[in-house]
């Protein structure tokens, strides 16, 4: 078999090599490879292919984001150069960017600098952002004025962590709301459709709610004793009328007197007016 010319071999390597092959190279690979060997040359070529310190063409030009050689207006002295370098540390009292990205760009604007994300970071950021947005939306359906605490971040990892923290905060808030009867509780079983926000329940609706209550208990706390003298569960609109300004479709769940009172306390302290 005739030997493959080096140029052809390099070309074939480039064709079938992962674009992010450098990520699979250990930083200390030279300890394990014979210097001057073909493998060493190959690894060195892969390593050269990616260098975080290599400058890029700034955004705005036709080939923005492409690797470029140092020097000229596109070099590291250009303030618009994109870099993975760690930005300045956070200074107390300073103003920082808090508008997070939109869309799936591989760069983020943080602390006045555009930070390049690795593919892994971009994927994690997309997941964290989606989860956070979904969790916040679910909370705001019940508590429209709620927002996660604002956070400061100066790195791509901080940016991802901020979204993860938002999702955790929203999840905790949702649990807190469920405990006071805002939103179907963790013991919610069957329910019946509500005719509307009105509370003129029919005898049939009362019977159905009592039947569900005996079976699965209060939807908020799970207790099967309603706590009323008449032995009736309270038909509870979910979402509650007080936090349903958009008139979303409601359902009725059985609720005990204690949880109904707690729900009323929460609604009154929120200053919700009908």
């Amino acid at each position: 078999m005739p030997p493959i010319p080096p140029a052809a071999f390099a070309h074939e390597c480039d064709r079938f090599l992962r674009h992010d092959a450098h990520r699979f190279l250990r930083s200390d690979w030279r300890r394990f490879v014979l210097p001057g060997s073909e493998l060493a040359a190959h690894y060195a070529r892969i390593e050269r292919k990616y260098s975080s310190d290599q400058p890029r063409v700034p955004a705005g030009s036709s080939d923005g984001g492409q690797w470029t050689s140092a020097g000229g207006s596109s070099g590291r002295n250009d303030p618009r150069v994109l870099s993975d370098a760690t930005p300045d540390p956070i200074r107390p009292g300073a103003q920082y960017a808090q508008n997070r990205r939109r869309g799936g760009s591989g760069t983020v604007f943080v602390n006045g600098q555009l930070l390049e994300l690795t593919p892994a970071q971009a994927a994690r950021l997309t997941v964290a952002e989606t989860q956070a947005r979904d969790a916040v939306r679910r909370v705001q359906e019940l508590d429209p004025s709620w927002k996660p605490e604002p956070s400061l971040f100066a790195t791509a990892e901080g940016y991802i962590a901020a979204y993860q923290a938002d999702a955790q905060e929203a999840s905790a808030r949702l649990s807190e709301l469920q405990r006071v009867g805002i939103g179907p509780g963790s013991f919610a079983g069957k329910s019946i459709p509500a005719r509307g926000p009105e509370r003129d329940f029919t005898a049939e609706e009362r019977r159905a709610i009592n039947s569900i209550g005996v079976e699965s208990g209060c939807h908020t706390c799970g207790i099967k004793e309603p706590g009323t003298a008449g032995g009736n569960f309270v038909p509870d609109h979910q979402p509650p009328n007080a936090v349903n300004p958009l008139n979303r479709i409601q359902r009725l769940y059985p609720q005990c007197l204690t949880c109904s009172l707690r729900q009323g306390g929460w609604i009154s302290t929120r200053g919700v007016k009908k």
Partner: protein
Amino acid sequence: MFDMQLKAGRVDQYARGEEMTMVAAHVRVLNSLLFIRDAYIKTLPLVDGNGAVWSTPSCVAVSCMPDSDGPTEIKIGASSELPGNRGKLLFDAQLETPSRRIIVETVLAKNVLERDVSNTVTRVRIWTNGLRDTNKVIIVIG
């Protein structure tokens, strides 16, 4: 002279010796919860659902019958008009009333009843039938 002072707000109907009459309302109470408080201070108690009464220095929350079970009879008036069959005394304390007006409202901040009072601190007593889902709440001022 007395009428002029009354008009200027330097004296009120109590100083004049007038007795306020007990007024009543029948209301289906949302979330079985009523607040009796000063008209301008809204410092509501934390209602944890356990028990039948919760209070802060200017507000008291009382549980009553769920709206789905029927209306609750709410009465407010002076001690001299207390009915004979009062039920069980649930609350007896001084409430701060700097606005000299006490209101009874629901969780949706809807006023059910209101009364003027003579002092910035007012003794308030509340009687019910003894149940958490009471269908009778009698509020006595002074």
